[in-house]
Symmetry: C2
Subunit: 163 residues, 2 copies
């Protein structure tokens, strides 16, 4: 019996009027996310990164040459607010991993570019990160993996438009 099941049992005893089946599913998803996040953060720390800085560098890296995007582009890719993105860029700039470059056509804007050091760092980090993700999903059989991925994708579609 897992942690979430115990919680459901307690609710059933104290508030039998509640149907807590959705709480079970959402609770398991939440705890799973917490465990996975912890593991991923620990691995990224070995590269001097956290999830926040990794996500920004990864977004620039996978955008392809010349590895430059505006803060607004980065914002659209990461589910955070503009103030958070400003702070993330500030930290990465201090570490010498990205640089702010004047936008050639719009003086309101700016381009965030990977430095050579930033490129080397993210390429190393993403290789290790992907290996870690394989490790973290190794507990699932191939069939379970496919089924879970399909269900998550299906569920996610309720929150994100299909394009």
């Amino acid at each position: 019996m897992d942690h979430v099941t115990r919680i459901l049992d307690q609710w059933h005893r104290e508030r039998p009027d509640l149907d807590v089946a959705p709480m079970g599913l959402l609770g398991r998803l939440g705890r799973l996310h917490a465990h996975l996040s912890r593991e991923i953060e620990a691995e990224l720390a070995a590269h001097g990164l956290n999830r926040a800085s990794f996500d920004v560098l990864a977004t620039l890296r996978r955008a392809g040459h010349p590895h430059r995007l505006s803060p607004g582009d980065l914002l659209a890719a990461t589910m955070v607010t503009s103030g958070t993105m400003t702070n993330r860029i500030d930290q990465l700039e201090k570490q010498g991993l990205v640089e702010r470059i004047a936008h050639p056509e719009d003086r309101r804007s700016v381009l965030i570019g990977l430095t050579d050091k930033g490129f080397a760092t993210i390429d190393r980090a993403v290789t290790a990160h992907v290996a870690n993700q394989h490790r973290l999903t190794a507990a699932l059989t191939a069939a379970e993996f496919e089924a879970l991925d399909a269900l998550l994708s299906r569920y996610l579609s309720a929150f994100e438009e299909k394009g």
Copy 2:
């Protein structure tokens, strides 16, 4: 094509050496968690609570009469550090939802008890919260719900001991 699929396509183009299937599954789980968390926080705010305070009150409520637990007990139930729990209790105490009571047998410890106001608040909030969870899982058919819950449970067992 969802947001995560676009990310995988980009990695495939830029780093074809990486097998990003696990990134897809973990990315979908992460985004789903983010969407669900946002919805749940918004609903709890209507009761003057956030996820943190709700979890503490809910733990006390479902523990049953006399609705008192030590900070250590609360800690074991919530995946946070001791400093975080101290802060949560402080905030709830300020709001008059819980009270600190001297532990009768161990002067190092203390009991956190629901006040009448705290009891009324959590009973109202959990009813609304459960209704909201039903809404948030309504996109899934009964079969999908069962399959997803089973797979999450199975995956979670890789991180939490069975008892």
